[in-house]
């Protein structure tokens, strides 16, 4: 590992970071300005050149590492954050940069971007947003505005656009900023802030694609409209913008509003930027042209321990706990026995702390065993969470050992009612000779359809009054699921059927209550 003392770092210039490769972006591409900004920023970071790594995916922006005289990988589409993550874990002392675009980072690689932010691994992610696929010659991207006409959307895109800074905020990034290719000094300052932040730094860089989406950022890039359409955020400063510095942002209820200074509105009424406020950060990410000025600068920045730091702390902790990490004892970390020529085997049983995990299923079994008592005193042991259990336990456990009582469709109503009475149950399953379910005959059928209406109970059959083809459930469905069905449809009984449609049981609301009751039986 190279822990070079600070004083030995050579004084770099921008040129030290340019590789010998010919840059091949289209003339006029915003990427030129961005790479210039990066190459101007790196010398001021105090990081040895050999400790800097640029990793990209696929796309125009992803050619970036080839033009940097640092370590670098031009990887595969969307996956740059994953390589960067592995590298940072392997070598926490390196300064690792991810260069991606709106397609690479938010479409094919969306998942990785989210998880890099969530983990807060110490990467600097630069997302060049030109709202178009450039390298594949002009299809709409996940940040293209609805209505954008491209080769793949000749009648206009019908997809809503992703807002990259809002995505990063939702993914819990700890540093979120926005800048633009043409904002030379702002770009450099933002990159420096990003580099200095410990954890995932997410920087959206508005970038112009001269060929396929020229002028997409014109409202903020054009000097004549920039002041009125852009808000440059500074921590601790009131949010003022406009050519004459005469407009500001104020909180109105839970929303931001643009106000004109003067006429009773003073600077004191304006919101002051607080980059540590996640609620404010959300409001800022939602501001867009033309209703609001577009925010630039650091939207959100909070300290939080980076992933790799915590991982290495665990490694360190493990090494402190077991300072003598020798392979011999690792191999013997299970019970061992020694075979000596024609002698009784000798058994050694070692401390379980060292023994390996046993197979997943056994683990589950043991956990369940231990859970029964867990760390609780024995008298409290029945207090396991019934709600958690009913989401797991299948309804099969409710009717164990009990066969459902069934009748034929032609059974008389009188006989059916008699059977229900004798068995003390509220429902009968009506089945055909092959045990397939025809319907369900319940006490509510008796109450609603028969009582006081039908007199000739001996000659009327259950098929006339039953609920035909009732909802059924297979036995492996969770109790919670059944409870949910009962609740929304007001069922008191649900038949259980096998895969081939034959009846295997019935569960009642009462069964569920009884089951849950068992959790409280010793209180």
């Amino acid at each position: 590992m190279t822990d070079i003392p600070i004083q030995n770092i050579p004084t770099y210039t921008r040129k030290d970071f340019a590789s010998d490769q010919t840059v091949r972006w289209c003339p006029g591409c915003g990427d030129y300005a961005i790479i210039a900004g990066v190459q101007k920023t790196l010398p001021g970071l105090g990081i040895p050149k050999e400790n800097i790594v640029f990793i990209s995916g696929i796309g125009c922006s992803s050619r970036f590492p080839y033009y940097m005289n640092t370590y670098g990988i031009h990887s595969i589409h969307g996956r740059a954050p994953t390589l960067a993550t592995g590298l940072k874990i392997a070598r926490p002392e390196l300064s690792v940069w991810v260069v991606t675009g709106d397609g690479d980072g938010l479409s094919i690689g969306g998942n990785h971007l989210l998880h890099a932010c969530r983990r807060n691994i110490d990467l600097n992610i630069l997302l060049f947003n030109n709202r178009i696929y450039g390298l594949t010659k002009g299809q709409y991207s996940p940040t293209s505005l609805p209505g954008t006409k491209t080769k793949s959307s000749p009648m206009g895109s019908i997809e809503p656009a992703f807002n990259p800074v809002a995505v990063a905020l939702g993914a819990e990034a700890t540093f979120i900023a926005r800048t633009m290719d043409t904002l030379t000094r702002h770009l450099e300052a933002t990159l420096k802030d990003a580099a200095e932040h410990k954890g995932t730094s997410f920087v959206e860089i508005f970038q112009n694609c001269v060929i396929f989406n020229n002028g997409t950022w014109e409202h903020v890039a054009n000097k004549s409209t920039q002041d009125d359409n852009a808000l440059f955020l500074e921590h601790g400063q009131p949010m003022i913008f406009g050519k004459d510095k005469d407009k500001g942002l104020r909180l109105n209820g839970l929303r931001l509003e643009v106000v004109q200074l003067g006429d009773g509105v003073t600077e004191a009424d304006l919101l002051v930027h607080d980059e540590t406020n996640d609620h404010l950060a959300y409001l800022l990410t939602q501001m867009d042209y033309p209703d609001y000025p577009v925010p630039f600068g650091v939207i959100y920045r909070v300290p939080k321990p980076p992933y790799e730091q915590q991982l290495m702390a665990q490694v360190q902790e493990a090494r402190v706990k077991k300072p003598s990490a020798d392979l011999r004892s690792l191999y013997q970390a299970d019970y061992t026995w020694t075979i000596e020529a024609e002698a009784e085997p000798e058994v050694t049983i070692v401390d379980t702390a060292e023994t390996m995990a046993i197979s997943g299923l056994d683990e589950a079994y043991i956990d369940e065993m231990s859970e029964q008592l867990g760390e609780l005193p024995p008298e409290m042991s029945s207090k396991i969470d019934p709600m958690a259990d009913i989401t797991q336990a299948p309804i099969a456990v409710l009717h164990q050992g009990r066969t459902p009582i069934t009748v034929m469709p032609e059974t008389s109503v009188a006989q059916a009612i008699n059977m229900m009475h004798e068995a003390g149950i509220g429902a009968l399953l009506v089945v055909d000779p092959s045990n397939h379910l025809d319907g369900i005959f319940t006490e509510s059928d008796v109450l609603m359809k028969i009582a006081m209406k039908v007199t000739d109970l001996d000659n009327r059959t259950v098929s006339e009054f039953m609920t035909p083809n009732p909802d059924t459930l297979p036995a492996h469905i969770s109790i919670a699921h059944a409870l949910h069905l009962m609740s929304i449809h007001h069922y008191r009984h649900i038949p259980i059927v096998n895969e081939n449609g034959t009846v295997s049981g019935i569960i009642s609301f009462r069964d569920v209550v009884r089951y849950i009751e068992t959790y409280f039986d010793r209180e």
Partner: protein, 619 residues
């Protein structure tokens, strides 16, 4: 071994299967029986067979979980073909396993679970304990639930659910008595595992002992058996599964290379245990990363390899499918890394908990472009240790991803493992280049012997360079679409894999050096095939066996070796994938593929019969 009391019958081996609901703790019961037997000095081989569902409905056929153990005084290689003893905790367990049981075998059932409802769930119309259907077996009917409940009376703080959960230890106790196993290892295990919950520990201990003494006091069991101790080579042993061995091998490789071990993985059956084991070995500077998906896991491995660690991932076929693009990136960046594929039943999600060898062609060819990767395959659980280290040697020598092709059977089966002396394992030499004054660093200047390129790692002043997935020029590695450059690089990458032959040991043959038949196997098929060949040999058949651990490249002498036999029989747990490779590679037409794709390993009998039939037909 001097005990000659009349009730003991001395036997050389027994195959026992424990079966019950997946929640009954059958894997645990089988493991405990195995541990006690290994400690007693038997050779062991186990085969867990569990459903994919964590908790299928209780009592159903779908929920049956089994664990088979083969105990022997001989050197054994498989968990055995047909069990001779079946411990069935409920009707479903009996129904699901009876077909496998040897005629005349012993059945121990928990009669308490043979209720109307459970019988129905197992699709029994009549109670098999009452009709005549178990004629021809020795059936021991034990009311396990009742007996266990009685034994555990008066333990304060136990619910009836907890009491019933100890049934498996009661059953274990019964089998311990019948097979004269010592209780010590299980006693110790219970104390360690449940020591914090004295009531649970007490309950399990009592259940175990009650089961044992039930065997002694009841007159139900007329005979006890004693399996003679195996004559294993002297040494210190432990029991090991393939996943455990792979994890130990990977840590060893990293230590021998003087590197941190980076493991990036995404949980997938049956490979997850490798991640679990390694996550507990952080004191060896093991850095495990549970990625957001298979692709990310592979990407992280590439990044970590670039950073100079020994970088590894483990997955199964579906994961390999997702990783393929990134594996190819690793291949063109020419960075060392290990990809473990613990094969399972496919295609698609297939049978996650069952075994197949059907990813061989996937790892050989399942990537775009010309993309040769070294592929090696262990032959037994313990061999996963050696081959994991071998994979690391290959990776750093040829600077390439290497595929370690395991399978679910190797991963979960256990066997005794003669613990090696770590000092006898050779170091893995790695040199990272440093800047040479006046010389331009060429990231793709190849070693003249191995054709590996220099592994320059970030942090090395003066060696800043860029790697990428685009085609590149030799030496500089600069992006190039030149036809000559592309051709040269394609050939170099092919050649460097082939040159691994220089360090692959000569392929050995068991049996006659030439003759009418050679059985060729790879992976976990080794055990059944070798035993079948020995059996055939004993029956006077002329048959040889060779087992391939190196699948790409093949050992240098393989072509010559194959040419000396008239028929080449290839049992594989796939539709003939290695057979296709041998036919294509060597242009031979005398290969008889013997496929089996049923989610289960070959039995010795299956291969033996095939050898026998082919020989008979030839005569």
């Amino acid at each position: 071994m001097t005990d000659n009391t009349p009730q003991f019958e001395e036997i050389d081996s027994v195959i026992i299967r424990f079966a019950g609901d997946s929640g009954d703790g059958m894997q645990l019961t089988g493991t405990q029986f195995t541990d006690a037997s290994a400690a007693y000095g038997n050779d062991i081989s186990t085969f867990p067979d569990f459903p994919a569902e964590i908790r299928a409905p209780a009592g159903t056929l779908a929920g049956v979980s089994g664990f088979q153990v083969n105990l022997s005084s001989q050197d054994i290689r498989t968990p055995g073909d047909a069990p001779q003893v079946l411990v069935a905790m409920n009707p479903a367990a009996l129904a699901a396993n009876l077909g496998d049981l040897e005629q005349g075998g012993i059945i121990i059932v928990n009669t308490d679970n043979f209720t109307k409802n459970n019988l129905k769930k197992a699709h029994y119309e009549n109670n098999p304990l009452e009709d005549d259907s178990l004629r021809g077996f020795v059936v021991h009917q034990v009311p396990l639930t009742t007996l266990n409940r009685k034994a555990l009376e008066n333990i304060p703080g136990l619910s009836s659910k907890e009491v019933d959960r100890c049934q498996n230890f009661f059953a274990l106790g019964v089998t311990f008595w019948i097979y004269d196993r010592p209780l010590e290892t299980t006693r110790a295990w219970i104390q360690q595992k449940f020591g914090k919950n004295p009531a649970i520990a007490e309950a399990n201990l009592r259940a175990l002992e009650a089961g044992y003494y039930f065997g002694e006091t009841t007159e139900a069991f007329q005979t006890r058996f004693r399996i003679r101790r195996a004559r294993l080579k002297p040494g210190t042993y432990r029991k090991i599964t393939g996943n455990e061995a792979a994890a130990l091998g990977l840590v060893t490789a990293a230590q021998k290379a003087g590197k941190p071990l980076f493991f990036g993985g995404y949980p997938i059956t049956p490979a997850s245990d490798i991640l679990h084991h390694l996550a507990g070995m952080k004191h060896f500077d093991v850095r495990t990363f549970q990625a957001e998906d298979e692709i990310a896991a592979m990407g992280s491995v590439i990044g970590a390899a670039f950073g100079g660690t020994l970088a590894v991932t483990a997955t199964s076929g579906p994961g390999i499918a997702l990783k393929s693009e990134a594996m190819n990136l690793g291949l063109v960046l020419e960075l060392p890394m290990i990809i473990v594929n613990v094969q399972r039943g496919g295609p698609s999600t297939g049978m996650p908990t069952k075994v197949e060898q059907s990813d061989l062609l996937q790892v050989m060819f399942g990537r775009n472009g010309e993309s040769p990767l070294p592929v090696i395959a262990p032959l037994s659980p313990g061999d996963c240790f050696d081959m994991a280290i071998e994979a690391a040697r290959f990776a750093v020598r040829a600077m390439t991803p290497v595929v370690l092709l395991m399978d679910g059977y190797l991963a979960n089966s256990a066997e005794p493992w003669s613990i090696p002396d770590p000092d006898t394992i050779a170091e893995i030499e790695i040199t990272h280049p440093q800047v040479v004054e006046g010389e331009t660093f060429l990231p793709y200047r190849r070693d003249v012997v191995t054709l590996g390129r220099p592994w320059a790692i970030p942090g090395t002043p003066g060696l800043e360079h860029r790697l990428g997935g685009l085609s590149k020029a030799p030496e500089t590695g600069n992006v190039s679409y030149s036809p000559d450059h592309h051709w040269a690089m394609i050939n170099d990458r092919k050649e460097k894999v082939e040159r691994l032959q220089d360090i692959i040991p000569e392929q050995q043959v068991y049996g006659p050096k030439s003759g009418p038949m050679l059985v060729v196997t790879w992976g976990s098929t080794y055990g059944a095939a070798r035993s079948a060949v020995e059996k055939a040999e004993a029956a006077g058949l002329k048959v040889a066996h060779t087992h391939l651990r190196y699948l790409n490249p093949f050992p240098a002498n393989l072509e010559n070796l194959l040419s000396r036999y008239k028929t080449i029989l290839m049992p594989e747990l796939n539709m003939g994938q290695l057979a296709l490779l041998l036919r294509g590679t060597f242009g031979i037409s005398n290969v008889v593929s013997f496929p089996k794709v049923q989610g289960r390993p070959f039995t010795i009998g299956e291969i033996y019969r095939k050898i026998h039939d082919l020989t008979a037909r030839a005569n």
